[in-house]
Symmetry: C2
């Protein structure tokens, strides 16, 4: 692997791999894994963020999420990011599923945690973060996916996954 | 914006943006939008791929997907990618939702199309692609999310979104 770019948040490495008689050249975005948190308050209410995304030049709705620090476990990162971004501390974290966000580009895995038993403290945003928090019913969040107000893939995956299990049961007959 | 890396599949550009009195430096992965396709056969059967991902060094289950060519519309790319990767031609494509896969890194939008009215033709894989196709019941696909066999975020989002609407209705009371 040859490192072709090195930045503050990620780097790019180029490599080649042989498979089924093909020699495939590829470029990889090298970056840490991510913890994604679905914070559940009482009465099917969740926390969701308005998060300013410099690359998009606008705010979008997203579940709390952040990269794992070096040596940090996914659940530790989930607790830390939830506290930093929302101010809430979680008594219980449950890992629901793990997914590659961009398997064509990156090994980075997203760990999806449901957070419950929440109590409010203070936020500690990173210096480049501009985030505000909303409390909404999960039914409203699902409506916001349909009405294109929520346009973040990890948040759509997590909200739909959670809602189907919680309100309908997981099995399709 | 300063281009810091230029590759075959994507480039990296660095920029700065002012917001709420902060000056934020960021790096962007510059890449095309993506069409994601959920191909529906009769009897709640779908097509899913075993796709070799060089960055991961392994095969993973994924819905058919691919980048838009320059000047190509999302629905045209969906038709083309579906035909190239699976051999199937779709009579009907319906756009279900649009999402940012990695809003912290990229402006790239994923367009999620349900494809139906399918008839079989020949595949035309890109020279670096190693893909095989499986026909499975959607209920089985949802089970494969739970059992960690499907670990691709866009596929999880699309399967869960589709299944909740199709089998349960969209509203949570």
């Amino acid at each position: 692997m040859k490192v072709s770019y090195k930045g503050k948040d990620f780097s790019v490495a180029e490599g080649r791999i042989r498979k089924n008689g093909k020699e495939i050249a590829y470029a990889e975005v090298v970056e840490p894994d991510v913890a994604v948190i679905l914070p559940i308050l009482e009465n099917d209410t969740i926390l969701i963020e308005r998060n300013f995304r410099p690359v998009l030049g606008k705010f979008i709705y997203e579940l709390p999420a952040g990269h794992l620090n070096r040596g940090e476990k996914p659940a530790e990162a989930a607790k830390r990011e939830l506290a930093e971004e929302t101010g809430y501390r979680a008594k219980t974290l449950k890992l629901e599923f793990v997914a590659y966000s961009t398997p064509g580009r990156s090994k980075s895995k997203f760990f999806h945690f449901v957070a419950s038993g929440l109590c409010k403290g203070n936020t500690h945003l990173d210096k480049d973060e501009i985030i505000s928090i909303r409390r909404i019913k999960i039914g409203k969040a699902l409506g916001m996916i349909r009405s294109k107000q929520i346009m973040d893939e990890k948040s759509i995956a997590f909200l739909e996954y959670y809602a189907r299990g919680k309100f309908h049961g997981r099995d399709i007959v």
